[in-house]
């Protein structure tokens, strides 16, 4: 059906989309570029790994636990580190550095935990191949189907949450203008902690999924973090749809694009695989400094005028109501 590279590429890109989506969500709400995403993702992998090795069963049983644990890590980061700094109006670079400190602590905790696993249970977490526990659906690796379906499902759920529910609208209002949102009585604390819980959960879930495609180790997240950043920057950092699109583009370019290139140029180019997303990011940033979401897609597709017309009509109507 699919060539295996494409199947793996879809799984990898879906996981990358979730990771980039998490980074974007946290950045949108709290202005924080989250370095700790790397080890949050790796903790997701370790939750699944511990579950599979010690309690048995399919890796998929432990995905919800990975999500919850990631949410917990995000909440801890907000309550103890990010929250106080946000209240003090720290600069973007300070916020970034604080998450780097958190990342180093999480990374060392991971390394200690993996040493402990080796010592106590004679496991070898330096080389985790969870892919062997995977099963097949209609001849395709299950992870391809599961990751694609869950990425699309989660994005749809997130979209509905942000557009349809009252709290989702409160989140968008806070992103647009925090002081104004506070004046109307929106509790921005609640918005911030929700973004961190969701972002952390998405990070761990993405990390758990990626472990079925890549070889896992305590530094897995640390090695792919730049790809995650590239994906989210490509998306523009201000729209979760942009983040998802960036994740898919970077992930597919890294897997599928590289195998096409290798067929054209020669296999030596495969060793430069991690460089590709970064080059895509650099080019994209030089051409569109605000990322994919910053491009005026509406007017490009000539839909802009129609949208504008509808919006103007709507505001006129509201204006009239207010006058009467």
């Amino acid at each position: 059906m699919f060539p295996p590279v494409v199947a793996d590429g879809i799984a990898y890109a879906s996981a990358m989309a979730l990771l980039a989506c998490g980074i974007t969500l946290i950045y949108m709400c709290t202005r924080t570029f989250n370095f700790a995403h790397a080890s949050m993702a790796t903790w997701g992998l370790f939750i699944v790994y511990t579950g599979v090795e010690l309690y048995g069963g399919s890796p998929y049983y432990y995905f919800p636990f990975a999500f919850l644990f990631g949410g917990l890590l995000g909440a801890i980061c907000y309550i103890w580190i990010n929250g106080p700094l946000l209240r003090r109006r720290a600069s973007e670079v300070t916020l970034m550095m604080s998450t780097l400190g958190y990342e180093l602590i999480l990374l060392s905790a991971l390394q200690m935990y993996s040493d402990y696993l080796t010592l106590k249970f004679k496991l070898y977490p330096g080389l985790i191949t969870l892919g062997t526990y995977d099963f097949r659906i209609f001849g395709i690796k299950a992870i391809t189907v599961v990751s694609f379906v869950s990425a699309v499902g989660i994005l749809t759920a997130l979209h509905l949450f942000l557009v349809r529910t009252k709290f989702g609208i409160a989140i968008r209002a806070t992103v647009e203008n925090p002081p104004l949102a506070n004046i109307i009585g929106i509790n921005s604390e609640k918005v911030y902690i929700t973004s961190w819980i969701l972002g952390g959960g998405l990070a761990s879930l993405g990390g758990a999924m990626i472990s079925l495609v890549l070889t896992g180790s305590p530094v897995m997240g640390w090695t792919i973090i730049v790809t995650m950043f590239a994906a989210s920057i490509l998306g523009g950092l201000y729209s979760i749809y942009g983040g998802t699109l960036g994740g898919y583009l970077v992930g597919l370019a890294e897997y599928v694009g590289m195998s096409i290139l290798a067929a054209l140029v020669g296999p030596w180019i495969l060793t430069y695989r991690p460089v590709v997303p970064l080059i895509i990011m650099c080019v994209a940033l030089l051409v569109f400094p605000r990322g994919l979401a910053g491009i005026p897609w509406g007017s490009l597709l000539k839909l802009g005028r129609i949208f504008k017309g509808i919006r103007n009509k709507g505001s006129e109507g509201r204006g009239r109501v207010a006058k009467t």
Binding site: M97, S108, M112, L278, C282
Partner: protein, 359 residues
């Protein structure tokens, strides 16, 4: 023979000196100019690769040894470099010229890379710029790691040793030279940041609009700061390569050459040169102590104590950011004229007032 304790002290001094240079250059860009430089490793790699790849080849060409792509392949590299080092040992002036020219070459390459990174630095905003620089550093390391003809790829390349003629005391002399160069760098950076140029940098950092109003060209000043900072960091990379005698692409990770210097700088005080020196010293000593007592600690812990380094660094960053945002030794306001002169002027004004009152 020296006791091992002295060796340890010298080793700490060397590491302290190299990281002091890197952190000072980082401080010049981050603390004084306000550029989110998350790609310090770029300039360090530029210096290290330049010294690892170019001077050795020139010497090999001069001495009639293989100098092409096969120079960097480990099978030939070790005997070629050993041959060069032996010939250098017999020719002291050539050794010294080689050493000085290598450092200059590294500085030039660093400046070139700094100029290149300054191009996006003018266009992009905070987080975008920081992450682009971070990504660019990874790209450079990855190219060095995979492209063998440059510095040997995944195998390290040996670098000709300009200090072999000292034979017995080589280690001590190299260390001493590095410490001296580091303190020269400290003086240069201190002088630079105290000069009108340094004050312009701070004005740019604190208020861009005000700087523009005063007729300062923001693009030019940012570019200059990046070029100077990068060439200083490149010298540190070159010193590290010459000190260790090998150029290993895998050693230039973003953790060691970008994130550790950031942690040192934040501990010491962003924008304060002396604070940065103290920050580096404290961090390096703690890290070395953890490595030293690793085996003593091991039986009491269910994991390798080396990971405590990371925990401590992370905790230090978080605690500083939360409780001492300006570091151990915060930046002081820069007086435009010497304090003695201000005191004299105040004294004069007071006297004048007194005479007026008496009249």
């Amino acid at each position: 023979m020296m006791p091992p304790f002295v060796y340890l002290i010298i080793h700490i001094m060397v590491e302290f000196s190299i990281f002091m240079i890197v952190t000072l250059s980082l401080n010049l860009e981050v603390g004084h100019t306000g550029i989110p430089q998350f790609g310090r490793v770029i300039a360090v790699i530029a210096g290290a690769f330049a010294v690892g790849a170019i001077p050795g080849r020139i010497l090999a060409y001069m001495m009639g040894l293989p100098y092409g792509a096969e120079y960097a392949i480990y099978k030939y590299n070790y005997w070629v470099v050993d041959e060069i080092s032996n010939k250098l040992a017999a020719n002291v002036p050539l050794s010294i010229t080689y050493f000085i020219l290598s450092l200059l070459l590294a500085a030039v390459c660093g400046a070139a890379v700094g100029w290149l990174t300054s191009r996006p630095a003018i266009r992009l905003r905070e987080a975008y710029l920081g992450i682009s620089l971070l990504a660019f550093g990874d790209v450079l390391m990855w190219i060095g790691y995979n492209y063998e003809p440059l510095v040997g790829g995944s195998t390290a390349t040996a670098v000709p040793d300009p200090f072999r003629w000292i034979w017995k005391y080589r280690f001590t002399v190299v260390s001493f030279v590095i410490v001296v160069i580091a303190f020269m760098m400290l003086l240069i950076v201190e002088r630079l940041t105290k000069s009108p140029f340094g004050r312009t940098l701070k004005m740019l950092r604190d208020n861009e609009l005000a700087a523009t109003v005063f007729g300062k060209d923001i693009v030019k000043i940012r570019t200059r700061s990046l070029v100077i900072g990068s060439s200083i960091a490149a010298v540190a990379g070159a010193l590290y390569v010459i000190y260790s005698g090998t150029c290993n692409a895998a050693a230039f990770t973003r953790l060691t050459w970008t994130f550790w210097p950031w942690a040192y700088m934040m501990l010491g005080g962003v924008g304060s040169n002396i604070g940065v020196v103290i920050g580096v010293l404290i961090f390096i000593i703690i890290r070395k102590l953890i490595v030293l007592y690793r085996f003593e600690l091991a039986p009491y812990l269910p994991f390798d104590p080396i990971w405590l380094e990371y925990t401590l660094a992370g905790l230090a960053i978080i605690l500083i950011v939360l409780f001492r945002p300006y570091g151990l030794l915060p930046e002081k306001p820069e007086p435009t004229i010497p304090p003695e002169r201000i005191r004299e002027l105040l004294e004069e004004i007071r006297k004048e007032e007194e005479t007026e009152v008496q009249e």
